[in-house]
Amino acid sequence: MPSLGADMETGTLVEWLVKPGDFVKRGDIVAVVETQKGAIEIEVYQPGQIVQFLVDLHSKVPVGTPLALIRTEGEAKAAAPPPLAAAAAPMPAPPVIPQPAAAVMPPPARPPVPLPAAAGVAARKAASPAARRLAEERGIDLSAIAGSGPGGAITSTDVERHLAAAAPPAEAKRPLGLDLAAMRVAIAAAMARSKRDIPHYYLQHQIDVTPCEHWLAARNATLPPDGRLLIGALALKAVAVAIARFPAFNGFYRDNKFEPSAAVHVGVAIAIRGGGLTAPALHDADKLSLDDLMSGMRDLVQRTRAGRMRSSEMTDPTITVSSLGERGVEALYGIIYPPQVAIVGFGKVVTRPWVVDGAIEPRSVVTITLAGDHRVTDGHAGALFLAEIGKLLQEPEKL
């Protein structure tokens, strides 16, 4: 059971996405774990073959408990039957129940009417993206629904009909895997720790983002909605690029010292409908093209709101960016998410009188803020960092 945050003590295994005998490689998603922050997809760091599961589904175990045995390539060649990895288990291993493949399949579909789709390919059943999304949000097995769309595809109307028929309890309206009350407890713990341990300082800087707006309008005008960029993508990229010159804002403060990070994994603060907040990482944001960064953001927001975050995204943001959006306020003062050492905030874009070449003009202005950790940096460095972000946003075409 990996630690998915400094405040996590236990996690509940809710789903295996592999079965014994499967080969896995680094980064594969192998299981889903329910935590205070919601359901998290667990990635594997050890390539090899799954030998057996060590934890039963729906059991709550402490952080550090081995979940499964993986035989690495070397061990496989040596054909050593009791895999060495077992040594990691601190406790006598619980009774081993090698799970047959069937155990990880969804419960058998109710009889009604599925089209002649072969059993077992339920997850591949034709369905519109909207239907798939709705089903996922409401936690419905698509194989239990009859499709009325072209070629028997399931439409969102079919899903709604199914929902109405099943008369789900009101509780089911909440996205699958998100426990907002538990999330609140986790937020409170992390923020209290931050306020207790981190001597914050705060800076703000107003910049003219009219060049960004013009550039975006011209670029987006010729593109279908899928290809359009939001100003938030420019903001995120500018922070990620600026940080290369200011590495003291990127990394972790642990064991009384700062460990800078070579990689730039920007935590994107995402509000959850109904209250709740989380900031999973967009990995290597400095290296992504704007298009890739935008689709990464869309994917992250969509999965987060559907309660499907991944373990690495939860644990490795090296700095956080928070933006309250166009209906928010002009400036926000963030609280650093430990063990990070900085959080950058973007207020909403407002039209303000601005002096350009000696004359007053209406311009689009945004306030960028920084909360920095005084154990690592001072306001002077913070000011230069914010100024650099502002400078980068004057030439969006170069981002």
Binding site: E137, T157, A221
Partner: protein, 86 residues
């Protein structure tokens, strides 16, 4: 696609973003972003979905016309009509 169809598509796609909202209770003349609390990412996803389902171009410059539920339905309906006659 009739006006009723368009209304249904809009309602379905809004519900994909805000499942807990009962569209029947949304004031058709109120600003959607405020009434159902959607952000620019939600709105872009909504426009993307409407584009895919209706096949209509919805340029960014027209976003202000999609600010309310009734505005959105009227806009799509007018676009569909002109697409048919074109």
């Amino acid at each position: 696609m009739s006006e009723a169809d368009i209304r249904k598509v809009v309602q379905e796609e809004l519900n994909n973003i805000a499942p807990e909202i009962d569209i029947a209770t949304v004031d058709p003349a109120a600003d959607l972003r405020e009434t159902i609390d959607i952000d620019s990412m939600d709105f872009l996803n909504l426009v993307t979905a409407l584009h895919h389902r209706t096949g209509l171009e919805i340029p960014e410059i027209d976003y202000p016309k999609l600010a309310t539920l009734s505005g959105m339905v009227a806009y799509l309906e007018a676009k569909l009509k002109s697409a048919k006659t074109a």
